[in-house]
C-alpha cells in the first residue's frame, strides 16, 4: 500500500486482479456498506465455527455411541423428562445435540460447497481457457459438451451421477465417497458457467497486444495462459464462485431431501433440515428451524458478498 499511496485515483488500468483487490477503491466500497461488512463478518464467523467445530462443539454428534436415544426430542434449554439433560438448541430424534450437529453439519456443507466450486472452477477454467485460446475444433467440441450438459438440469444430473456411483462403487467405498460423489455431481452440473465466461474473456484477451507480444517472444502457450490471461479472467470467476458456493450448499440439501445426499449418521446442514422437516407439524420446530436459519444466514451472507463483489469488480458499474 505504501508504495502505491501516490497512485492517482482514477482511470489507470490495474495490472492484475491482485492489484485490483489491494486497490483501495474496492476496500472503500466495502467499508462503506455496513450490510456487506456484516455479511463478511458473519460468513467468516460461520467458516471459523465450522473449521474449529471439533474443538468448539459441546458434543460429538457424529459418534453414534455417544448418543442417548432417550435424550431425543429435548426442546431447547429445557431439561429432558427422562434423562434430565439440557441442551441449548435442543436435540433431534436421535438425541443428538442440535448445536453440535449444526457446527459439524456446516463443516460438511461448506466442504461440499468449496470442493464443488473449486472443482467446477478448475474444470470450467481449464476448458474455457483451452476453448478460447485454441479455438477451432477444440472450441467446438468443448462447447458442444457444454450444450449436452446444459440439457440436463443440475438436479437431474446430480441424481444420475449419484445413481451410477451408488451402483458401481462397492458399498464401503461409496460410503466414504458419498461426499465426493456429491462434490463431483454438483461440480459437473456447474462447470459450464465458468467455461463460458473464461472462454469469452480469453478470446478477447488473446488478441490484445501484450499477449501477441508474448507470443512473438516465444513464450509457451501454457505460460501465456497462466501468466497473462488467467489473472484477467479471475474477477468474473470469483463472482461466479461466490454465488456458486451458496448454490452448491442449497443443491446439496435438496439432494438430501430427494434421498441421495449425505447419510443421516453424519448429517450435513441440508440433511439436518430434511430430517427436521418431518417434525415441523408435530411441534419439534427446533430440529429444522436452527439448521434452516444457519443455512439461510450463510447462504444470504455469501450471496450478498457475491452480489457486492460483482458490482465492485465490474468497472463499468463502478
Amino acid at each position: 500500500m505504501s508504495t502505491e499511496s501516490k497512485t492517482p485515483v482514477d482511470d489507470i488500468k490495474p495490472a492484475s486482479l491482485w492489484f485490483r483487490i489491494i486497490d483501495s477503491d474496492l476496500f472503500n466500497s466495502f467499508i462503506r456498506k455496513p450490510v456487506i461488512v456484516a455479511s463478511a463478518i458473519i460468513t467468516l464467523l460461520i467458516f471459523a465455527i465450522a473449521l474449529f467445530a471439533p474443538w468448539l462443539a459441546p458434543h460429538t454428534p457424529f459418534n453414534p455411541s455417544s448418543l442417548n436415544l432417550m435424550d431425543g426430542f429435548t426442546p431447547p434449554m429445557t431439561a429432558n423428562e427422562f434423562t434430565g439433560n439440557e441442551y441449548l438448541l435442543g436435540t433431534d430424534n436421535q438425541g443428538r445435540d442440535i448445536l453440535s450437529a449444526i457446527m459439524y453439519g456446516t463443516r460438511i456443507s461448506l466442504f461440499v460447497g468449496f470442493a464443488a466450486v473449486g472443482l467446477a472452477a478448475l474444470i470450467g477454467i481449464t476448458l474455457g481457457l483451452l476453448a478460447g485460446y485454441k479455438g477451432g475444433w477444440v472450441d467446438g467440441l468443448i462447447m458442444r459438451i457444454a450444450d449436452v450438459q446444459l440439457s440436463f438440469p443440475a438436479i437431474l444430473l446430480a441424481l444420475l451421477i449419484f445413481g451410477v456411483a451408488r451402483s458401481i462403487l462397492p458399498p464401503r467405498v461409496m460410503d466414504e465417497a458419498t461426499v465426493w460423489v456429491l462434490v463431483v455431481s454438483i461440480a459437473l452440473s456447474d462447470w459450464v458457467q465458468y467455461a463460458r465466461t473464461v472462454r469469452s474473456s480469453t478470446m478477447a484477451e488473446k488478441n490484445k497486444e501484450y499477449v501477441q507480444a508474448a507470443r512473438l517472444f516465444g513464450v509457451p502457450a501454457p505460460l501465456i495462459l497462466l501468466r497473462h490471461i488467467l489473472p484477467n479472467v479471475m474477477g468474473p470467476v470469483l463472482v461466479i464462485g461466490t454465488i456458486g458456493l451458496a448454490l452448491a450448499i442449497i443443491l446439496e440439501s435438496t439432494l438430501s431431501y430427494l434421498g441421495v445426499g449425505i447419510p443421516p449418521t453424519q448429517p450435513s446442514l441440508g440433511t439436518l433440515i430434511r430430517i427436521g422437516q418431518d417434525f415441523l407439524f408435530s411441534g419439534e420446530w427446533w430440529i429444522t428451524l436452527f439448521p434452516a436459519l444457519t443455512l439461510l444466514t450463510l447462504a444470504l451472507s455469501v450471496n450478498l458478498l457475491g452480489d457486492w463483489l460483482r458490482d465492485a469488480l465490474n468497472p463499468r458499474l463502478r
Binding site: 492517482p8 485515483v9 482514477d10 472503500n28
Partner: protein, 325 residues
Amino acid sequence: MADTLLSVKDLVVEFPHRRGNLRALDQISFNIDRGEILGVVGESGAGKSLTGAAIIGLLEPPGHVAGGSIELDGRRIDNISAAEMRKIRGRKIGMVFQDPLTSLNPILTIADQLIETIQVHLKMSDKEARKQAIKLLDDVGIPAASKRIDDYPHQFSGGMRQRVVIALALAGEPELIVADEPTTALDVSVQAQIIDVLKNTCKEHGAAVMLVTHDMGVIAETCDRVAVMYAGRLAEIGPVREVIKHPKHPYTIGLMGSIPSLAHQVDRLVQIPGSMPRLDNIPTGCAFNPRCNKVFDRCRTERPDLIAVEGNLAACWLHAEEATA
C-alpha cells in the same frame, strides 16, 4: 458582433471523492455566438468532453455543476429541472458522440430512431416526420435515403453511421450542436468528409457548433474560434487564426510548436517536459507552472484569470502587465 447563443461563466464541475472533491472543471468561461463554430482543444483529461457534457446536462453522477452558470439565449440552464432540461436537449442543443458504432440502438431501425426524435420535439404526423427524416438523411449525404431509412444501424459503414448520428442530432432543429470528437473513432479516409458534413449541415440548419477535438487541422479548417484547455481550466481562447499564428499562452505555444504540420494530432506534448497534472494533484497558482519555461514566482502562488491580449484571451501572468499597461 453576432448575438450570443451560449454563455458559460465561471463553470465549476466537481466529483466528490473520498479524498475530497475533485475539480474537473475550474472556472471555465466562454461564449458561443449563433451560427459560430467553436473548437475546443486540449490533451486527454483536460476537461473538453466534460465541458460539453455539462452544457447538455449529462454529467455522469456523481459529477455535478458546483459553481458558475450556463446560459442559453440568456436563460440559465444549469439549474433547471430534469424535465425542463429534457426539453432543451435535442431541441436547443444537439450532441454528436465520438463512436458512431455504439451511438445507435442496434435493434431499432434508423427510421424508428429518427422519427421518434423528430416527434418528441416537433409537432409532426408520422408521415411528415418520416418525410423530414428522409430529408435529414439526404442532407447528411446518405445515398438512397428513402430506402436506407428502414435499415438497421449495423447495415451502415462507420462513416455512414456518423452521418446518421449527425442527422439525429439535428432532428430537433437545435441551435447548438456539441460534437464530442466526432471523427476520432472513424477511419482516416472519411474523417474529412464527416467534418464537412457536420460543418455544412449545421450551417444550412443555422446551428452553432462546439467541436471538441484533438485534431488541430480540423480546428484550423473548420472553426471560427478556438478554446485551449489545460487541467480543467481554460488556457487561451480566441479567433482561430490568431491562436494558431500568434499563441499567447506558453502552453498554446508549446502546443502549436509540437505540431510539425497542422494535419497532425496532439495527444501528448513531446516538446514540453512533464505531463499534465492529475486532478487531485493540481499545483497552486497556474496549473501549467511546473512545466512552463517562462515560469516566475507569481505563477506559483496566484492563479491567473483570462487576460485580453491582442484579440485573444489568455490565462497567463506574462501578459498581466501588457493588459494593465
